[in-house]
Amino acid sequence: MTAEHPALALRGLAKQFDGKVAVAGVDLAVPAGSFYGLLGPNGAGKTTTLSMAVGLLRPDAGAAWVLGHDVWADPVGAKQLLGVMPDGVRLFDRLSGAELLAYHGLLRGMDPAVVDQRAAELLDVLALGDAGRTLVVDYSAGMKKKIGLACALLHGPRLLVLDEPFEAVDPVSAALIRDILQRYVIGGGTVVFSSHVMEVVERLCSHVAILAAGTIKRVGTLGEVRGDRSLEQVFVEVVGGRTATGEELAWLSR
C-alpha cells in the first residue's frame, strides 16, 4: 500500500492566528523515498505547516495523510509511521540522553530489549555516549538536535519530518546528521525537512518546495525548481528581498 500513496500528502492546509493568516492553503505531495526540502524565509509558515502535517496543530481547513493514513481522522495509524523532530519545542530535558530515548521508545510501545539495543547504538553513532548521565537540559544546542533526531528515529519510522534540523548545529554534527539522513533515505525512508540554508538543501534534496507568506511559490524536483540558476537566486527572486544601498545605518561606521 505504501507504493500507491505518497509518503506525505497535504491538501488545502490553512491556519490563522488571531485573524492573521499564517498558512493560506498548502497542497503538497511528497513521493515515498524522496528527500524533500521545504524552503522559506523566517515567518513563511514552515513550522506551522509541518506542525499541522504531523498532528501537533489543528488546521482551520484542509487535511494531511501519512502514507495514506489521515493524520486527523486516524492519528494512531499515521503517528506509528511517523518520526518528528519539532523546532523550538523542548524535550523532556530533565532526563539524561539514555533515559530520554528509553522514554520515547516505551511511549511508542516498543519492546524494552529492542529499546535498549537501539538506544545504545544511536547514542554511539551520534557521539552522545560521552555525555553519560548529563541531563539533556545541560546539553549544547548541537547535542540537543542530535538527541532529538535520535528520539525521532528510534522506532524506525517510514517518514521523518524535521523542522530546522541544521539550525544552530556545528559543522561536525551537521555532517553527521546529513550522513545519517542520507543513509535513511537510501534505506527506503522519506525525509521532509524545513530549512533556509541553501547549500544544505542543494546538496541533499531530491525535491524542493519554496514557501513564502503562507503559500507554496515553487515546487518540484531540485532540477525543475532551480533550472540553470543557483537555488539561492531563485529563492531570493521568489521571496522578494531587498538589497542594501549603503545609505541607511550610516551611524554604524565611524
Binding site: F17, D18, G19, V54, G55, L56, L57, R58, P75, V76, K79, Q80, L82, V84, P86, G88, V89, R90, L91, F92, D93, R94, L95, S96, G97, A98, E99, L101, A102, Y103, H104, G105, L106, L107, R108, G109, P112, V115, D116, A119, A120, L123, G129, D130, A131, G132, R133, T134, L135, D138, C151, E248, L249, A250, W251, R254
Partner: protein
Amino acid sequence: MAVAVSAPTTPAAPPRRVSARHFVRLKLRVMGNNFRGQGWRIALFVAGSLVGLWFAATGFVLFAAPGLSGEGRYALMVAAFGGGVTVLGWLLLPLVFFGVDETLDPARFALLPLPRRTLVTGLFTAALVSVPAVAVLLALLGLVVTAAALGGWSAALVAVVGVLAGLLLCVAAARAVTSAFATMLRSRRVRDLAAVLLALTAALLGPLQLVGVAALRETDWDRLSGVAEVVGWTPFGAPWTAGIDVAEGRVWAAPVKLLITALAIAALLAWWSRSLESAMVGAASAGPAPARRGATGASVAELFPRALGWVRRDRFGALVAREARYWWRDARRRANLITVAVVGIFVPVMVNLGGSGFTVGQGQGFSAPDTSSPVLVSVSMLFVGVLAAVTLANQFGFDGSAYAAHVVAGVPGQQELRARMTAFSIYVLPMLGVVSVVLAVVLGEPGWIGMMVGSLVATYGAGLAVNTFVSVLGAYSLPETSNPFALNSGAGVAKSFLTLLSMLISAVAAVPMVVAAALLGDVWLWLALPVGTAYGLGAALLGAYLAGDVLDRRQPELLATVTPRR
C-alpha cells in the same frame, strides 16, 4: 525602542535617565497586549478584580469599625493583628499558593545598562501596580478612618503615611522572599536547606495562631492588647499602628514606628537586590555542567528509579517513571511538592491544637468544643487532601512544549492521566500517612488514625479527579525562567482564581466524609478507612476515565495552551 536612524550627527547624546515610570508603563503595556483578543482572559481578570474589591471592602469595614463605632480600645488591636496578618500573608501566600507575577522578568533586563538601584526601584514600583496591592491598600485605608475618628486630622495624616509605608513593606517582603527562595532552590545542593527554610517560615504561623486562639478563648483583653502592643513594635505591626498611636496621644511613637518600617523596607530591598543579581545571571547560563559519567548500557533500566522496580516496562510504566523523576528533578515541581509537605503537616497540627480558634475564624461562634473532635480533624484533613491534589491543577503547564512528544506519540489520554496520578501519589500517599500518624500522636488519639487516613485519601482522590479536569481544560503556560514561583505576565489574578475554584470544587466533592464523621459517631472511626479509600480511588479513576476522553479530543489545543509565547 525607536532608534533615531536619521540622526547620525549626534552619536554622543547622553542617554536619558530611566525612571520607575518607564517600568510601570512597560508593565501596563505588557498586561494590555496579553489581553488582546483573549476574551476569557479579560473575563477572568475582571472576575479576579471584583473578588479583590470585595475583599478590599470587607477589610475596609473591619479596619474602620473601631473608629466608626467609637470603640477606641479595639483600635490598636485591630491595627496590629489585622495589619500583621496582612504582612504575613504577603510573605507566605506567594510561596504557598500563587507565585509572583513576573510580568517583568528581571532576567530580561540583564543586558541593559541599568544601575541596579534603578532596576530595583523600577521593578518594585511596577510590582505595586497589581490587583492585590490595590485591594490591600483600599482595605487598610480603613485604618485612616479609625485614626481620623479617634484623633482628628493629624492622626489621619500619620495613618495615611503608615498605610502607604506598610503597603511598600508588604510588596517588598513578597518580592524579596520569593526571589531569595527561588535562587536557593535553583542550586541543587542547597535544596534541602530551602526545605528547612520553608518549614521555619510556615512554622511562624504556629505561635501567632496559638497566641490568637488562647487570647480569644479566654477573652482576656488585657493580655491581648499587651500582645498587640508588642506586635505594634515589630515591622509586622509598626506601619499600621502609627496612626492609632497619635490618636491615643503617644505622638512620640509614630516617628519611631515609621522609622522601623522604613528600615525594614530598606533591608528587604537590599536583600532583594542581592538575589536579583543572581536571578539575572542565573537565567542566562547555569554555568558549565559537569558531565556525569555512568554506565549507559541499559537505557530502560536507567529511566526507572530504583523505588519503581515493580512497575512494568511499558508505556504506562515509562510515564510513571518519567513523572516520578520530574517531581524531584524539576525545580518548579519540587517547590510545589515541598510546600505541600510542609503545609500539610503544620496546618492540621496547628488547627487541631488550636481547637476552637479555627471554627471561630469560620464564623460559627464559640460553640465549638474545647478539644479537637472527629469533625474538626476531618475538616483539616479535607484541607490537606485538597491542597495536595491542587498541585496537579496545571500539571501540563509544568511540561510546557515538551508535551509535544506525547502528542506525536499519540499517548492515550486515560492512560496518561492515570500514570500522572500514580506518579504523584508515590510522593503524596506516604506523606499523607505521615500527616495522619503525626497528628494522631500530637493529639494523643491513636484510634483516629484510620479515620484520618480515610478522610485524607478520600479528599485527595476526589481532588485528583477535579484537578485532572482542570489541568486538561484550564491549563496555562508557565514562563521558562528558573524562578519556580514565576507566573506568566498578567495571568496571576486569573490563575489564582482558577486555583481557588478548583480547591472549592474538590472540597465540596469531599464533604460527604465530614458529614459522615459528624453523623455516624464512633462507627465511623472504623468505617472511614475502607470507605474513604474506596471513595478516593473510585473518584480518581472516574476522573481519569472521563477527563481522558476530553484529553484525547483536545491534545493539540492543550499543547498550544501550555506552550509559552506562541
